[in-house]
């Protein structure tokens, strides 16, 4: 049996907001009947304030699917639609004190049902853009589709490449045979042959700076480094944006999954390290949220 948290069990055994909201004006229906999960989310939205006054769920699915649905309705009740849309699947999983990697898709289904319901309320069409494959790496919950896409997009050739770009295989290593099989398949489709001893692909090398740069050249160089790091961040569902460079400090916005991720600080440290290597000078990378004050002071100076 799965190692479910007490929170998951609580929401499964005594689900909150089960059943359809009678006078619902927003309905989201998502699921995958082949993997055994389907969810109908019904909301009663106040047309004036756009506040979700009531939420109900009907779920065909396993224990964690029911628990995810239940906790989702609890999270979004009382929120405006815009606030609710900010709820990520990670928020749902966190609220349940975590889900086993094989079960993270239950939280994804919750978020998608919410998006679908909001789209339904606003008269928009909601399209699901994510395809789900068989789970390959259980340590980091990476599925086959993700690995295949990254092999195609980044011309990956070895298991090490796949680990660098997706994290898959970076834990217990039990899935390396499966990753090799995927590499073999994709490379065959590309007319290449999988060679387990191939050297890992070369990183997109950004040429190191040898001569002093103008301010504009420096900013362009920093952009170039960020671009080279982007694939890894996007593999984790995140992104980075350069906001401002003042003296030796680069201000960045971490977006997507990077935003609020516990790993963000580590990621920023990694970006900083890379920038210093390329620019050959000390650079500090700071989240743009800490910039405001400084800009004001500078602005004041100019005024």
């Amino acid at each position: 049996m799965w190692d479910y948290s007490e929170k998951v069990k609580e929401h499964f055994f005594t689900p909150k907001n089960a059943g359809a909201v009678v006078d619902a004006n927003a309905i989201g229906e998502v699921g995958s009947i082949s993997c055994g999960d389907a969810l109908r989310l019904t909301l009663k939205v106040n047309p004036e304030s756009e506040i979700i006054e009531d939420a109900g769920f009907q779920t065909f699915g396993c224990g964690s699917a029911i628990a995810s649905s239940s906790v989702l309705t609890e999270i979004i009740k009382g929120k405006t639609l815009d606030e609710a849309l900010k709820v990520t699947n990670q928020d749902i999983a966190n609220e349940l004190d975590g889900l086993p990697p094989e079960k993270m898709h239950c939280s994804v289904m919750g978020r998608e049902a919410l998006q679908a319901a909001v789209a339904n309320y606003r008269g928009e069409e909601w399209k699901d853009d994510h395809e789900e494959g068989a789970l390959i790496c259980k340590c980091f919950a990476i599925d086959a589709v993700m690995i295949e896409e990254m092999i195609w997009a980044n011309k990956l050739r070895t298991v090490e490449d796949v680990t660098n770009f997706t994290k898959a295989g970076g834990g217990c290593a039990a899935c390396h045979e499966d990753i090799e099989a995927i590499l073999e398949k994709v490379l065959a489709e590309k007319g290449e042959k999988f060679d387990p001893t191939a050297a890992p692909i070369e990183k997109v090398e950004v040429e190191k700076v040898k001569t002093p740069l103008t301010n504009l050249q420096r900013i362009k160089k920093i952009e170039e480094v960020l671009t080279s790091l982007r694939p890894q961040l996007m593999a984790d569902g995140g992104d980075v944006e350069l906001v401002e460079v003042i003296d030796n400090t680069a201000y960045v916005n971490m977006t997507g999954a990077c935003n609020g991720c516990q790993m963000a600080a580590m990621t920023i440290a990694g970006i900083q390290q890379r920038l210093m290597e390329v620019l050959g000078e000390f650079i500090r990378v700071v989240p743009a949220s800490e910039m405001k004050k400084l800009v004001n002071i500078q602005g004041a100076g100019h005024a």
Partner: protein, 404 residues
Amino acid sequence: MPDIYLDNNATTKVDPAVVDVMIPFFLEQYGNPSSIHKFADGVAKALKKARGQVQELIGAEHDSEIIFTSCGTESDSTAILSAIKAQPNRKEIITTTVEHAAILNLCENLEKEGYTIHRLPVDKCGRLNLEAYKKMLSDQVAIVSVMWANNETGTIFPVVEMAEMANAAGVMFHTDAVQAVGKIPMMLQDTKIDMLSISGHKLHAPKGIGVLYLRRGTRYRPLLRGGHQERGRRAGTENTASIVGLGKACEMAMEHMEYENVQVKAMRDRLERGIVEQIPNSFITGDLNNRLPNTTDIAFEYIEGEAILMLLNKAGIAASSGSACTSGSLEPSHVMRAMQIPYTAAHGTIRFSFSRYNTMSEVDEVLKVMPDIVATLRKLSPYWDSQNNVPVANPEAAFTPTFK
């Protein structure tokens, strides 16, 4: 009421009498059976006795046809890999779509190495088509491997007849009989079955012990080479205590064969009849007239198996499910898909498997809680109309989620 164990096809409780005969081989007669001293002098004799007890249960002609292994999976792998190694010119294997993973995944791997795998389909009742099977047999086939009884539905396959057909075509025949041995009588010496796998823990012996039956004269290549144990056919120091335990378990299975097919079957029958009578939109899967006496697999439409198991577990009842979620895969059981059970039912299949330790009062207890469990989950289901306790009209049309 104490907890109720109805998951005996997954594994069984070790019979206390089996534990008793094992203990001296941990504490007193712990010598290596190959040694010549008094810590070992009773061990070889005990192994011989156990070999005879296994031989008796499956009706083998000679006790030297019994090779002790570490588990059913090892026996399966040994059988198939032996057949292809001994006949390097034969590049085809015949099996079924509903085998255990021990066979299916091995065959899938051999497929990557260039073998052609013929997988016999089953009909909606889980039965094989022998005409189709006959056409597959040729001098290119290294081995046929067909389970004696299916672990999920309990459906019994005509392996004796299929072995005759293989033999007539000059093809080796293996059967994975881990679910059948000890539950239905067999007399291998009267059949053309060349190899057969047994797993100890399915018949009240411990985990970690198995048997490969190898008919005398069958061409064979060992999987593990090394010492002279098992006449060099399976090297590695004997798991003496477990072998002795398995021998005892086989003897007891023999004694209980009638009980299994009368009393145990009666419990199973009462449970499944009670469930389908009380609970709407539930049905039994598999070949109802040709099943193991201890197994029933029931589909509860419009709800999901893992959720059912969690509620059963809360009520102190252990069973298992063919749903995707219980296995960690994204698809429901390959057996249910092979029988073309619709997804909305396949995800809600629950297998109850009995043993001689179960009682009728346990059956009544399950019958008492099952309707509420199903009703509770159906209340949450978008496919169910709780007010009228029926599926919503035209369920597939009424609820059409955006599919991934």
